[in-house]
Amino acid sequence: MTKLVEWLVGVTAVLVSWAVVSFDLLDLSLPEAYREVALPMPLYLLVSFGCYSLATVGYRVATFNDCDDAAKELQEQIKEAKEDLRKKGLKF
């Protein structure tokens, strides 16, 4: 099963159960409260996911490690390498 198919199955399952509850498609005679809560769910879930995404990406960008030490170390090693290679006969 590809990821696309997994998503389609999952989304279909959620939408079907939402529709059944919200519009009383199977004549289940559920309490009014269920229907009131269920109706705005898809929109609510989308907005929540949107907020979660923004917060997560924002957090990850803010905490993205900057490797200043690694850059410095590399610069020094480059000098050392050039010296050593020159001694060994490399013509740059």
Binding site: V57, F64, D66, A70, A71, I78
Partner: protein
Amino acid sequence: MSSRKAAPASGVSADKYSVLLPTYNERENLPLIIWLLVKYFGESGYDFEVIVIDDGSPDGTLQVAEQLQQIYGDDKILLRPRAKKLGLGTAYVHGLKHATGNFIFIMDADLSHHPKFIPEFIRKQSEGDLDLVSGTRYKGDGGVYGWDLRRKLISRGANFLTQVLLRPGASDLTGSFRLYKRPVLESLVSRCVSKGYVFQMEMIVRARQLSYSVGEVPISFVDRVYGESKLGGNEIVSFVKGLITLFATT
């Protein structure tokens, strides 16, 4: 599980690590990356070879590689050039034909990947007998140098999208500093069809599909090239196209 053999100070280990180094116009960086590889492999005592796969660089990369071969020996530095720029997947296939190691490192030749992490990779691999070890910029003390806010935002945003759509079980899919067991690399390269960034992503996704074990090592990525080659609209578009293709086909 019995522990794997330790670093072969006694010279008993039969493991050999082949480093595949595709190059294009790396005349300045090639001596430096090879010097670093020799340094860190030498210090750790592991048996290794470096296979330079130059795609007909017009700047004389191959000539520098030949000098390095003189200095370090042609058992350690192998040259397997190609006539022109032919792409990463085929470079690996080409390199693999000539590799004599049972483990294969892939990495970039432009000094963004640092060989100091090689012992880490090897340790991680042997601890869990892993099929694949991937360097990650996004976890632990992994990170980058030389990226501005825009670049970081694009990187994290793209990675988030990838995680949501593909749920790959690895934090850094587009990274190209990796250690593979040789049969694993051979098997994966033969199945992957994408190009560029997406090729590296596809390798990990397919590894998961085939139930290969994947581990991660935090690495520092020092980007000195970014100043010259900004991440443009074209690359973003082709990344998204590739991501959607993987989403729909794997």
